[in-house]
Symmetry: C3
Subunit: 353 residues, 3 copies
Amino acid sequence: MFPKNAWYVACTPDEIAVKPLGRRICNEKIVFYRGPEGRVAALEDFCPHRGAPLSLGTVEDGKLVCGYHGLVMGCDGKTESMPNQRVQGFPCIKSFPVEERYGFIWVWPGDPEKADPALIHHLEWAESPDWAYGGGLYHIACDYRLMIDNLMDLTHETYVHASSIGQKEIDEAPVHTRVEGEKVVTSRFMEGVMAPPFWRAALRGNGLADDVPVDRWQICRFSPPSHVLIEVGVAHAGKGGYDADATHKAGSIVVDFITPETDTSIWYFWGMARNFKPGDEELTETIRVGQGKIFSEDLEMLEQQQQNLLAYPERALLKLNIDAGGVQSRRILDRIIAAEREPSALLIKGAAS
Amino acid sequence: MFPKNAWYVACTPDEIAVKPLGRRICNEKIVFYRGPEGRVAALEDFCPHRGAPLSLGTVEDGKLVCGYHGLVMGCDGKTESMPNQRVQGFPCIKSFPVEERYGFIWVWPGDPEKADPALIHHLEWAESPDWAYGGGLYHIACDYRLMIDNLMDLTHETYVHASSIGQKEIDEAPVHTRVEGEKVVTSRFMEGVMAPPFWRAALRGNGLADDVPVDRWQICRFSPPSHVLIEVGVAHAGKGGYDADATHKAGSIVVDFITPETDTSIWYFWGMARNFKPGDEELTETIRVGQGKIFSEDLEMLEQQQQNLLAYPERALLKLNIDAGGVQSRRILDRIIAAEREPSALLIKGAAS
Amino acid sequence: MFPKNAWYVACTPDEIAVKPLGRRICNEKIVFYRGPEGRVAALEDFCPHRGAPLSLGTVEDGKLVCGYHGLVMGCDGKTESMPNQRVQGFPCIKSFPVEERYGFIWVWPGDPEKADPALIHHLEWAESPDWAYGGGLYHIACDYRLMIDNLMDLTHETYVHASSIGQKEIDEAPVHTRVEGEKVVTSRFMEGVMAPPFWRAALRGNGLADDVPVDRWQICRFSPPSHVLIEVGVAHAGKGGYDADATHKAGSIVVDFITPETDTSIWYFWGMARNFKPGDEELTETIRVGQGKIFSEDLEMLEQQQQNLLAYPERALLKLNIDAGGVQSRRILDRIIAAEREPSALLIKGAAS
């Protein structure tokens, strides 16, 4: 139950630096590697000769060589050669549209004809020298929508991340959710609160006092198929909050690309982009390690929640105001998935309405 | 295939001392914790908000707080509060009758209306200062009835526990099985035998010579749903055996509470109660460690037996005289289970007979 | 999908030296042990009393004693005795024809009446003092036919075993496959090539120069149900190749007995028989360790290939000339399996053809 005609983050460049990478995405077994001129390529991870996984092979001169019997595969899914064989009649394997952009490899697991690179999520911060980014990858055994719910309702920070970014005022501050076309925005503002440990460290890292009241904000932006970018930050109280001058605040964007592996497992690419001290690599690493630890606290909860939902499939879950971000995101996903499955039905319905 | 209207041992108090405990019992996922005034509570391990396991939460002032978004659950299964939410309309979750008694937490996974604490298995030794108890818990992947069979036929000691409590004379001594209402008693008496290592140690521990012939007894008492208490002991030969004066014997009660987790797995609470040197905690620990080692010898056998029975479901097993204890226990269980499923059918049948 | 009326290698004698061995072969759970006079015996691994695995028992005076309650089983599957029991009416368990020969235990998992020890694969090298043998056992999660394919197409050496026995010339040399009744022979000869590392070491081990061109040969012989014996070797170039005098060459027989455990897993007995320096046990061990390392390189490939085939069951694999050995072997297996299932149909078909 996920859109297939969409650009998903598949991996990061370091994962294909030395050898091909086999990764299941949206139930498709795919091999990623650097093809001719170092351009990334994505193919079915299935050698047409005897079904060996091509990801166990090697890349030679931009060509993927099967590690079992040496079949040489082109990045279009056509066999180029094989020792002592005529390969013209060999069946093709699927090739997947794939792009490298913003420091990620993006794959389109659905209909290749619909794959327009211009549809890739635009990430301003990834193109600007004023920003730095650090992140990581977790594999989690849960439906990708449980992670969207998680990120679109940050009240969980108070409980799951009590010792780092959680604070009681998150629960208490009203949350606003609005739908903008295919996007959902959930925002929360807290005024005159004391910053929790993670943000005190960020203030100090930014050369600001950490023992005075701050205004804190969280603006979660969902966009299909499964991206949640969250503007977060604190400013010394009374300086304008979210709109305060940069000299009074510390902020960043929490980056979450949630790529379904199967119906009940995900590749979770998490990270943080910040626009202060972008050249400080040590700070980038410190933040990355800290964020990795905080985000790992969600894993057990999400996996056990998934197990509970599988055990009690008939139970209806509550949809409270705090859940509105996830609920609205799921509605958009439902429409997209329905349109993929029955494009004509949707058109008719659209005409009638 | 187990009675649900029954009191089962769910856990021991130390397991809920620090945080809630999630445990599946008779296929029900249950969270155990200490509620108001320290009284134990048992609820479905499923938060009505988004299905998170409540066992990952915390207890605050006797209330279970969901570790995901802070829903506060009462011990009756009704949500008490949630930050910034009206909770009156929240669906209830099941609460399970639960009692703390004799050093154990007992749960009733079936119909709460039938749960009478007076039905909890009465354990005299657990209430008397003349007795000491030590025990432990094993998780075993087998049908609970295989463990009942195991304990109601102690000829296995000769083979499984050859180096500790087994001895050839167990096989050779006749066994007597009788049914007393819903209870089954299987007994065996050996006269003038040499005590095996465990019992020689027990004689020494009790200040008695260990190198003289003894009379040995084993009296296994099954009671539903799945308890087997076994009186075991040795007395210097010719002093009256089971009825000998306390100064001539060493005896104890082997305690076995077998709680089904699923149809093919159990929580096995094992222990030993003794009425000599009850204040000697070091002796309690020595016995506990020794018993734990002996009882662990059954695990592989039971789990592989279970695998064999699943692989050959059509095979009829033998029911020998030594198996009578298990066979009679299963008959009682079958009647109880049938009555739970079709109470009226049972009444009619009862009237006709 | 494997012949059951056939002799398979079940284990090696060291595996039953100390206690019984439980092993699943062709989906049958079997216990192997040394019965009367040390003769090997094979029985269903299922005690007729309560279904315990007999492989957890002990052998006493050539009799298998169940480790649960002491039932004494004869090597014909009839219970011989049990403490205090009359056993005449006990149901029998299956006994399997089993033979010890050539340093292996062979079992016949099918119809015992058809089990003729004369049908055991004759291994000349195993009976001659001029030969030495060393080998090992791997458990691999793949269909046994994938391993037959692997061994009947050695072009994979170039890719899977690039650093030891692979070399580019394997791909380039033509391969010849012929069927001889129920046997398949695939052979390849390379002339005037430089030996790869494993064979350079073998030349040195045999007192021959390792830095001169050699003629290399590979003759793979499949015989049902699942044996592949491969004559391999190198001779100094121009000395007659395969037919060169022993003083100019180093050769051996790669031994592969592939025993199905289930439809998708195998017990893979691999080894090497050589007819030079047969008394040099240190050399035997050196070769064994080296071969074990090389052969372990196939495991991941085979297991992932199996996973791919299960994921894409509808895909037809290619059957190239290099695959002819495997393809022909599978045809023979298909005929044998069909004949086992419908012997009369085969006779009629045979009469009509």
